[in-house]
Assembly symmetry: none
Homo-oligomer: 407 residues x 2
């Protein structure tokens, strides 16, 4: 019997509140440069310390040993969706990240401006890394002139620098398509084709991309250096069973950044928008306490400072989070999990594959007798080292949401 | 290559004695109410302590993260059978639990008396929870009047309160069938049908159930309040490769309770019956030492006291076990594993999903330098956190039963 089927058959209705608090990129490395302390270890965290005494701890492998996840797979795993099974195209992630509210069937592409010579050969794949302002102007131009192709709507949204996204919204569309990108300079932009050749919907989408190029390229003629564009990761929003049907949990997302709101929305969580600080997010949770079973609360600063390699700032962000915790705990959820979606070690200035520490506190989590919540401490916890996709199952078990298996 | 095939190909003949000592429901939780000690930690266990110094330790996930197993899946995993692959119907487990010696092809059902109104509607699914004595009388009545249906034998055995089991023994029978139980009051007893609709054997079994109702219901007419009965979990004893063919180990079971004897029998272990105390069980092991390669010794008290939420009694049961250990060690097996089939935390008064601690002692287990055998200590052990179904492979490896894989 399939394990997901077993979980589904054993699932009981929720009678508790479950909170997943994600400190993005929380995990870090102990290095001699920082006296062998991680930011989490160096931080003063009295509230996390108190929680630790009555919690289980462990470490989570985001996807698989050695795999560094982007935010998409990292969060899908935390939401209990196998990131290898549920792959979300880069275009979709990028569109979500830019705040486009995707609908089922939308086909989204990552795009970026490039430089073409007179015969259509790509001479600079990033158009000299134009300023965001220039990108915004060019996107506004394209948006105003190419609103529809056939019966399909075209949505164009600028990103940072030379980057933007294009979303095709219409009937009977599907990805994935090959890239409209030669992936090196000196070649022309290749024509896109369906990756699954037999798909009529993908053929329609490929035709749309071709027509979009025909309409858009002439509008850029003469613009220097951005007189062309490339499109990659062209795919539709995948069909993902909703959080509620999969776990019997009515879920809400309290995030600040559009990417995380978008990922939560992808699995059918409600978005509780309008918060700017972690204290506001916790207050929003308090206000909505009675309306949902499960809350995903996302804290971004830890990841940002990790990517900047700023140890002190990451430490302070953790302390800021810790100081705000008592707000959350005014209405303590029956099950509280605190973790990251992956590690973002300051020493690497990037996401990494290192297992993130996790703390799980409930009336039946037991105590691992650890005085603090840290990477090294979590190595000693009863949860051991496990795949992040099982965290939701641990949370459900702690919420007494599973019937016994067998007699 | 399939992993089971690899194990099988590498397996050498046994030249050692392997003992699996199961303290049922051993695992527990540290809570502030008990000064953050588990019963195993609070117990005085000089003999386990001595063993720990020369043993490897770890924690085992009974089935999968968050899944709480019944005794069936819990023990099948300890015996090395994936409990998702080898599912045993509730009827079979219940029959084994009541000491029915099932044969291959037997179809067994959990049954219980209920109350029907004059039009056959279930008005009380448990017949007012009649006394065991009443149940025994009614079962005796049914047994004496319905011994056979067609060419199939009918075996009826009373359980506790309103519960009993019915076993159909004949040629060409198979489950699983749907339940003869509306699962709520106010409906009639539904007709059973095969769950795998194309199975001719299951159709025959369904027909038998129908005929059994026709024969048995009139015998209960006028009995108050138990004038009807429901049947659930109707399935045949599954085909399970025997322990001996799977592991090249001649195995014996030294258990007191019929359920565990039954589960051992299901995988082809010999039953060494007649023991009442753990000391008698250990003595039986000594007496049979030369006749088997593998001994499964089952100690029930830890689980019972866990289910009662009686911390002190669970602690004392562990101390009783510890005191008896020197008897077992008079002829020390080359490989000794001590663990539970799942956790039964006193605080939960029920089986749980929390990983159970395991201790593995052999000449080549190495030492994890742990002075005691406890949940928290086991978190630090070299065996790490692993699925219970691999314990038998660890035991075989420690018995030098695996050839090298590859050059």
């Amino acid at each position: 019997m399939n394990l997901d089927t077993l979980y589904s058959e054993l699932t009981l209705p929720a009678k508790a509140k479950l909170v997943l608090l994600v400190l993005d990129g929380l995990g870090d490395l102990a290095t001699p440069e920082q006296c062998y302390l991680t930011p989490l270890e160096a931080a003063s965290t009295p509230n996390l310390d108190t929680l630790s005494k009555n919690a289980a701890q462990g470490r989570m492998v985001p996807v698989a040993p050695g795999i560094t996840p982007g935010s998409g797979p990292g969060h899908l795993a935390l939401f209990g969706y196998d990131p290898l099974e549920y792959q979300v195209g880069r275009g979709v992630i990028e569109a979500l990240g830019l705040g486009v509210e995707l609908k089922a069937g939308d086909v989204a592409a990552r795009a970026n401006f490039c430089t073409l010579d007179s015969s259509g050969i790509v001479t600079d794949r990033r158009a000299g890394r134009i300023e965001t302002e220039v990108c915004e102007k060019l996107c506004a131009l394209l948006s105003s002139k190419v609103k529809k192709i056939g019966d399909s709507q075209v949505i164009i949204k600028p990103g940072k620098g030379h980057r933007f996204v294009v979303v095709f919204r219409g009937q009977g569309l599907e990805g994935p398509l090959t890239d409209a990108d030669p992936h090196h300079e000196g070649s022309a932009i290749p024509k896109v084709v369906p990756i699954h050749k037999e798909s009529a919907k993908a053929k329609k989408a490929a035709k749309l991309v071709e027509q979009f190029y025909k309409a858009a390229l002439p509008l850029l003629a003469g613009k220097t250096p951005a007189n062309g564009f490339l499109m990659r990761g062209i795919a539709h929003q995948p069909a993902i069973p909703s959080f509620e049907e999969r776990y019997r949990l009515k879920a809400a997302c309290v995030a600040v950044y559009p990417m995380y709101k978008g990922l939560a929305q992808l699995v059918g969580m409600s978005r509780l928008d309008g918060c700017q600080t972690i204290t506001e997010q916790f207050e929003r949770y308090l206000a909505e306490y009675d309306n949902f079973d499960y809350f995903f609360i996302h804290f971004k600063a830890t990841d940002m400072h990790g990517e900047d390699g700023d140890f002190e700032a990451k430490r302070k962000a953790i302390e800021e989070l810790d100081s705000a915790l008592p707000v959350l705990l005014r209405r303590r959820p029956e099950v509280l999990a605190i973790t990251g979606d992956h590690s973002t070690p300051c020493a690497l200035r990037a996401h990494s594959w290192h297992p993130q520490p996790v703390l799980l506190s409930s009336a039946c989590s037991g105590s691992d007798k650890l005085d603090r919540f840290t990477e090294t401490g979590a190595n000693l916890g009863s949860l051991g080292l496990f795949e992040a996709k099982y965290l939701i199952r641990q949370m459900q078990a702690n919420a007494m949401m599973f019937d016994k298996f067998g007699a």
